[in-house]
């Protein structure tokens, strides 16, 4: 049985490093140990200078995203037992490294805000009208897309975002689709401007890796393709509405 495992971590200390460097740690191995726990062990026992982000430890908060052997993963949902030959851990790809495993996600957050991620309705239901009703079919249109935890793994998986940061990207477009599909929402026309834009759904070349790496089984690739269908319909309708 293995009793320790080698973990290589890409370190970056802005005050002393000009570029990131690899550093190796030996961590005691147990079958149920997560990568996040291994990082905590390193910080507590081996090297207090290591920086990383976490909060919930249960794949809910979305703050522990990192690259493990080149694949975007949640540290708390990744287990040492699946990497007996060691692991190479690096800050989430496609984002600037702030320090060690901590990245600057502000661009991602701005994109999430920009798609108007809330129900828009100028004539909201009055209280006395009672609660909203939705059929199972109406709910199924958006439910899976509402499961996103904003971890950013899909952005790290997306070469289109990596090559061009103006691309709205998987999670934001999936969230946009989530609100557009909600039967309580009336903001679709506003959001379609974002979908139709060059950096919107059409910036996607259907690589499909975003859906593969998503830890919550959101399917951003599907949301974006359905966004393209909507956008194409918009375009055809606009041809018959001159002067708009």
């Amino acid at each position: 049985m293995t009793d320790s495992i080698k973990i290589d971590i890409l370190r970056y200390r802005p005050e002393s490093d000009n570029e990131p460097v690899w550093q190796s740690y030996d961590v005691p191995f147990t079958n149920e140990m997560s990568l996040l726990e291994a990082l905590a062990y390193i910080k507590d026992e081996l090297d207090p200078t290591l920086s990383y982000r976490w909060s919930c430890r249960m794949a809910i908060c979305g703050s522990c995203g990192m690259m493990v052997n080149g694949v975007p993963k949640l540290g708390c949902k990744t287990f040492l037992r699946d990497y007996k030959n060691g692991m190479k851990v690096e800050a989430l790809a496609n984002f600037p490294i702030e320090r060690d495993l901590v990245v600057d996600m502000s661009d991602f957050i701005e994109k999430l805000e920009a798609i108007k991620p809330y129900i828009i309705n100028d004539n909201p239901r009055a209280l006395e009208d009672g609660c909203h009703t939705q059929s199972p079919k109406q709910m199924a249109q958006y439910k899976q897309f509402s499961m996103c935890i904003n971890c950013g793994l899909c952005y790290a998986a997306c070469p289109q975002y990596g090559l061009d940061k103006s691309f709205t990207g998987p999670a934001a477009l999936a969230l946009l689709h989530r609100y557009n599909q909600d039967s309580r929402d009336a903001g679709k026309a506003e959001r379609m401007k974002i979908v139709n834009a060059e950096e919107g759904a059409w910036g996607c070349t259907f690589v499909g890796y975003c859906s593969k790496v998503c830890p919550k089984d959101v399917d951003p690739a599907a949301a974006i393709q359905l966004g393209k269908v909507d956008s194409a319909k918009d375009y055809v309708i606009a041809m018959f509405k001159p002067g708009e």
Binding site: P14, G70, P96, I97, P136, T205, F206, G208, L226
Partner: protein, 129 residues
């Protein structure tokens, strides 16, 4: 004063070789180049046809050279690879419902293969009659 100095990693020209998923994606997309070349070859054949029987026969003759046969086999294999990967992704772009039930992905994929079979058969019949 801020001590921040964010580091941007470069993707580099070989980014698609570092991850098998990305490599497969580039192989899938690469087929479009082969299909473009194939279309030009075919168009040239049509052009020769417009110049008369002799010109066209010359083109057919050229196409039966081993090099060109290999090219056609390669295009076929690559195009099939593209089609298979594309068919398996197709359900993502479809949101089809029958009453209160979503049409299962497997139906859409089978539908695509069915359509391919019908169109290929029609093409074959056209060529043979």
């Amino acid at each position: 004063m801020s001590k921040r100095k964010p580091y941007e990693r470069k993707m580099g020209a070989t980014w698609w070789l570092k991850n098998t998923f990305h490599t497969k994606y580039i192989i899938r997309e690469g087929s479009s180049l082969v299909i473009a070349i194939y279309s030009f070859v075919l168009l040239f054949g049509l052009f020769r046809l417009s110049q008369g029987a002799e010109a066209f026969n010359g083109w057919v003759e050229a196409m039966s050279q081993p090099g060109w046969i290999v090219f056609h086999l390669l295009s076929l294999a690559w195009t099939l690879y593209h089609s298979i990967t594309w068919f398996s992704l197709a359900p993502k772009a479809a949101n089809i419902w029958l009453g209160q039930k979503r049409v299962p992905d497997s139906w859409i994929v089978s539908g695509m293969y069915g359509a391919l079979a019908v169109i290929s058969l029609a093409g074959l019949i056209l060529v043979l009659i």
